[in-house]
């Protein structure tokens, strides 16, 4: 037992000393790291606001369940009240003289009043103005699917649509780089929540003209948009995952497709 404890404390010490070391120097251990630039990239997602429309099968099955439920149930108080109303009305037809002036509120009257109350409430529409205008700059559209933020960046000679990205600076953790570049590129009025310190994906490519560095290694970080607008003047669009394939480089798309979930 004592031996075990000693072992444990030794391990703890080594972990602590390692953590301190990590804070002090961000050394790159690999031999060929100098040849690659390290980038962090942010996959900023506007999560779906609305549930999907039901598929025909889902509608059919939900109707079936509703039907089954009704079948297995007994009459409720409201239905009994309706039957009682019918009976009273029938009786009144038979003898007109008896308590003809007393008007009681029937179950159907109640239903009507409920119905008008319901009609008075207008829920917000599932499609917005930006849906009609196809305003790609707005994230207040396509509410029933996930939107991703793409920005146009200059890669080599060409400008391409990619997830916002930026170079890692010595002394930062990659998560800090990701936060920094998102703030730099979009302005600081976006309220986002990063999903963890670990990168969710990795993409490597080589530059056509190899000078000091031969290529770039990009680490992707996921973040959820809470609210806010992009204030910086940059070229960007909010786009559904299903629509990004033609915009991105094919190999790049494959990586993004793997870590961005459809649902």
């Amino acid at each position: 037992m004592a031996l075990y404890l000693i072992h444990r404390t030794a391990r703890l010490k080594s972990i602590v000393s390692h953590a301190i070391q990590v804070q002090q120097n961000f050394s790159l251990s690999s031999k060929n790291h100098q040849n690659y630039d390290i980038f962090a990239s942010v996959c900023l997602q506007r999560q779906r606001v609305l549930t999907s429309e039901k598929t025909p099968l889902e509608i059919e099955f939900s109707n079936f369940l509703q039907d089954l439920e009704t079948k297995q149930s007994v009459y409720n108080d409201h239905e009994l009240r309706h039957f009682e109303d019918l009976r009273v009305a029938e009786q009144r037809k038979l003898d007109i003289d008896a308590d003809g002036d007393i008007i009681r509120e029937t179950a159907l009257d109640l239903e009507d009043s409920w119905d008008t109350e319901y009609q008075n409430f207008k829920p917000a529409p599932r499609t917005t103005e930006d849906d009609e205008n196809k305003n790609l700059k707005s994230h207040n559209r396509e509410l029933d699917s996930k939107l991703l933020l793409l920005t146009k960046s200059k890669l080599g000679d060409a400008e391409r649509w990619v997830l916002p990205m930026g170079k890692w600076i010595k002394g930062e953790s990659l998560r800090q780089t990701a936060e920094r570049i998102l703030a730099e590129q979009t302005g600081s009025s976006l309220n986002v929540q990063f999903l963890g310190n670990a990168p969710c994906g990795f993409y490597k490519y080589e530059y056509p003209s190899k000078e000091q560095t031969i290529g770039a290694k990009i680490f992707f970080f996921k973040a959820d948009l809470k609210d806010g607008q992009i204030t910086k003047n940059i070229n960007f669009q909010w786009i559904k995952k299903q629509d990004i394939k033609p915009l991105l480089p094919p190999r790049y798309f494959k990586v993004v497709d793997r870590f961005v979930l459809d649902f």
Partner: protein
């Protein structure tokens, strides 16, 4: 012997001096009270004592009888007990079984089969995507470790802002901005039970 007498005289002298010159506002302690006044013993009538004993005994007996008769009284669970008024009128509440719109047995079976397949496919797609995403992340971490152990160590730290994780939605219609919900009445229908 002389010396002792002298010393005694001197000490008496000192004590007398202090007694004379002590100012009135000086601190002094009161004498310690090492005993307490006696309590008056109440004389009890022997009859009253006997009656009290009998009362106690009766009370206990009553409690025992009640426990034996009913056992422990438990709080009823509404979901299990159900509404008694409905149980009384259950005969008049029977719904007629025939319904033209409802499906026949074969149609139901076919629908259930289609539904099961549909949900299974959905499940397979979702689990595959999740495991893909996990693989993708692990590959990224392995690659990061190759580049720098320190960056890797920072990346695998827990993000305490995410615990507990909370996300609202999705909902069936979007929230109305600046919506003023009408006031309702709050009626507490929770029943109270004695122990």
């Amino acid at each position: 012997m002389m010396a002792l007498r002298k010393f005694w005289q001197r000490s008496v002298h000192i004590i007398q001096n202090t007694a004379i010159y002590t100012p009135a506002a000086n601190f002094h302690t009161s004498e310690a009270l090492c005993s307490a006044p006696m309590k008056k013993k109440r004389k009890l009538d022997i009859n009253i004592v006997i009656q009290k004993e009998i009362k106690k005994k009766r009370k206990l007996e009553k409690q025992i009888r009640r426990l034996e008769a009913k056992g422990r009284i438990l709080k009823p669970i509404d979901e299990i007990v159900g509404d008694r008024s409905i149980m009384k009128t259950i005969e008049s509440r029977k719904r007629p079984t025939d319904n033209e719109n409802s499906k026949n047995e074969e149609e139901v079976k076919a629908l259930q089969r289609r539904w099961a397949n549909y949900k299974f496919d959905q499940h397979v797609k979702e689990t595959k995507q999740i495991s893909d995403a996990i693989d993708c992340q692990n590959e990224a971490l392995i690659e990061l470790r190759k580049i720098s152990e320190d960056l890797y160590q920072l990346a695998i730290q827990t993000d305490n802002d995410l615990v507990p994780f909370k996300r609202i939605g999705p909902v069936s219609t979007p929230p109305i901005s600046n919506y003023n919900p009408p006031d309702g009445e709050y009626i507490d229908t929770t029943r109270k039970y004695d122990k």
